[in-house]
């Protein structure tokens, strides 16, 4: 009779505590789920889940406050940075983050994000740039690329009439109150790992009271772009990366040591 050997199981992958075990409403192939998971992992690793308050946007991530296992609020369209300001100013020792799409942050909420950064609000913003309005069904966003077809630019974005896509990281990096502003992408594993590191730094900058931090994440919207998920990943790489170069647009001097710690 063979002897059964007991092999101890090791947990190598599990749902972060900061993420709720519920189905999301995101479309297949959308990278919101990846962004959520990265944030949740970072909150767990930093041990701040029970001190964190998330502010959700209006857009596809409107229900983010239900997905994160943290205290959370749902802001009006574009106002998450203002709402986060209100929360952070009365709870300065808590961790406050906003999660915003490109319509929310770069169109209707442009004033709020610029002024939150200008004031150096000690909050962390995760900015999902997928070059389209997802929730309302694929209209042109301020980040929509030139010639990109959307339901409100059906023949392709005509920059002569609608202007050029806005580069928010480059813009916000100009402000002294912003201490950490970087652009990352979620289109492959390597970039995803880099994105997580950036998210971690962005939260650490806040926890250390250094100022405003934002991580822009280039993301896919297969539904809005009318592509399959793999095609969407490819489109992001081919079309978005040239216009939205990945990189560190602002690393303030006192944030730099946070980066070195990682290496």
């Amino acid at each position: 009779m063979a002897t059964a050997t007991m092999v101890e199981e090791q947990v190598v992958y599990q749902r972060p505590e900061a993420l709720n075990d519920i189905p999301t409403h995101y479309c297949p192939g959308c990278t919101h789920g990846i962004a959520h998971r990265l944030i949740a992992e970072v909150l767990d690793e930093l041990g701040v889940r029970e001190r964190t308050i998330g502010v959700s946007p209006v857009g596809c991530a409107a229900f983010a406050y239900q997905y994160f296992n943290t205290d959370g609020a749902e802001a009006a369209h574009g106002r998450a940075p203002a709402m986060a300001t209100g929360i952070k100013r009365v709870l300065p020792n808590r961790v406050v983050f906003t999660y915003q799409g490109d319509g929310d942050l770069a169109a209707i909420g442009t004033a709020e994000i610029i002024h939150a950064a200008m004031r150096g609000e000690k909050i962390t913003t995760i900015f999902i740039n997928n070059a389209i309005y997802g929730m309302t069904g694929g209209q042109m966003a301020p980040t929509t690329l030139a010639h990109q077809r959307t339901t409100s630019s059906p023949t392709g974005r005509d920059v002569a009439l609608t202007g050029f896509p806005i580069r928010m990281s480059e813009l916000l990096a100009q402000l002294p109150g912003a201490v950490y502003v970087v652009r990352r992408s979620l289109h492959n594993v390597k970039e995803i790992m880099k994105a997580k590191q950036a998210i971690r730094v962005a939260f650490e900058a806040q926890i250390n009271g250094l100022g405003f931090a934002m991580v822009e994440l280039l993301s896919t919207c297969p539904t809005g772009w009318k592509l399959t998920p793999p095609e969407a990943m490819e489109w992001l790489e081919q079309e978005m990366l040239p216009y939205y170069p990945l990189g560190d647009y602002k690393v303030a001097d006192d944030v730099a040591p946070l980066l070195k710690k990682r290496r």
Binding site: E50, D71, A73
Partner: protein, 356 residues
């Protein structure tokens, strides 16, 4: 505390501080700017939060954030700024967090002017934002009453987890008058159990005004309406003079009510049996008292600094039992007692039949 000569705007600000406001967010606009300026000086020296926002839109959403975090919080503005805040009001009402708003009304529409006005009665009493609700609205007629109502506003906001307006006009904001401040209340130490403070050792709290399912949102609305019904029953406030034997009652609030009081006294000197009802809560409107009075007077004369807005509420509350006449000035014009007296005499001669 001693009686001091205080400007209405400053008194409103200091009264809020005494009532334990923990965070103020605002944007400069005449004629309420002294309120913001007083906060700019006092809040930081008390270690409390003050932010001059980039717009009224941002200011009200900062208030929304601080309210969600369980702080006593407020903003102040004037008519055009209040228009910009509509969005935030609606979210605050929809997610049932407490907040206090001061509206020092000015002449409109549009950019209008900076003179005293009551042209935004509909704006504040009907909903002050999209969706189906009324904020609580309190209207002081003096600097002292402004101070007293400011404290009450924070208490009502907390009690009902609702939006409370204190509405003045440029005249009350700019007027100096002797008044006495209440003692400083200590800041609330405990945060309410629903507040967003980080889920340490408890289940998470979430605050949102989002409910995609119609059944769910109807349930939210039914709960909100039940709350408003409670407020309507419990929070009607008004004051009156010489109504006991009055044949004609003048109805006016805030500055118009105060000026009308002088006209009423002048009418009495002429032997006319005239009284004054001055609503203090504009929502809930003091409909019970008005309804009682309409059983025994022969007419109402409503005086407002607008084209006739509260007059609708007076007509509703009096149920068509007696004629309701209106006199108003617009565009920042403030009526003087003599013109109200003239109107009183005209209405009295036309409508009052019993002996003088």
């Amino acid at each position: 505390m001693a009686v001091e000569l205080m400007k209405g705007n400053v008194a409103l600000a200091e009264a809020a501080i005494r009532a334990g406001v923990e965070a103020y967010f605002g944007y400069p606009i005449t004629p309420q700017t002294e309120l913001l300026e007083h906060m700019a000086k006092r809040m930081p020296e008390l270690g409390r939060a003050f932010v001059q926002a980039e717009s009224e839109v941002a200011a009200i959403n900062m208030v929304y954030g601080a309210a969600c975090a369980g702080a006593r919080t407020m903003t102040s503005s004037s008519s055009p700024g209040i228009s910009l805040m509509q969005e935030g009001f609606s979210y605050i009402a929809g997610s049932e967090v407490p907040a206090v708003i001061v509206d020092v009304m000015r002449g409109g529409p549009g950019l209008g002017n900076i003179q005293p006005s009551q042209a935004d009665y509909f704006q504040v009493t009907r909903s002050a934002g999209h969706g189906d609700y009324h904020p609580i609205v309190l209207a002081p007629a003096s600097v002292q009453e402004a101070i007293d109502l400011m404290g009450l506003a924070f208490d009502l906001a907390d009690q009902y987890r609702h939006l409370v307006f204190v509405v003045a006009d440029g005249l009350i904001g700019q007027m100096m008058e002797p008044a006495e401040m209440p003692p400083m209340q200590p800041l609330r130490q405990e945060r309410p159990d629903w507040a967003l403070t980080g889920a340490e050792g408890r289940e998470v709290n979430t605050i949102a005004s989002l409910e995609l399912h119609a059944e769910g949102l109807e349930a939210v609305n039914l709960r909100l309406q039940a709350k408003l019904e409670t407020i309507r029953a419990a929070e009607q406030r008004s004051t009156e003079i010489l109504t006991e034997d009055a044949n004609l009652i003048v109805v006016g609030y805030g500055t118009a009510g105060r000026i009308a009081q002088t006209a009423v006294l002048q009418a009495r000197q002429q032997g006319l049996k005239v009284g004054l009802l001055r609503p203090i809560s504009l929502w809930p409107f003091p409909e019970e008292r008005l309804s009682e009075l309409s059983d025994r007077v022969q007419a109402f004369l409503v005086v407002e600094m607008n084209a006739g807005q509260m007059v609708d509420d007076v007509r509703l509350a009096s149920g068509g039992q007696v004629p309701v006449r209106f006199y108003g000035r617009m565009g920042g014009m403030v009526p003087v007692p003599e013109e109200i007296l003239h109107e009183i005499v005209t209405v009295y001669e036309k409508l009052i039949t019993s002996g003088v």
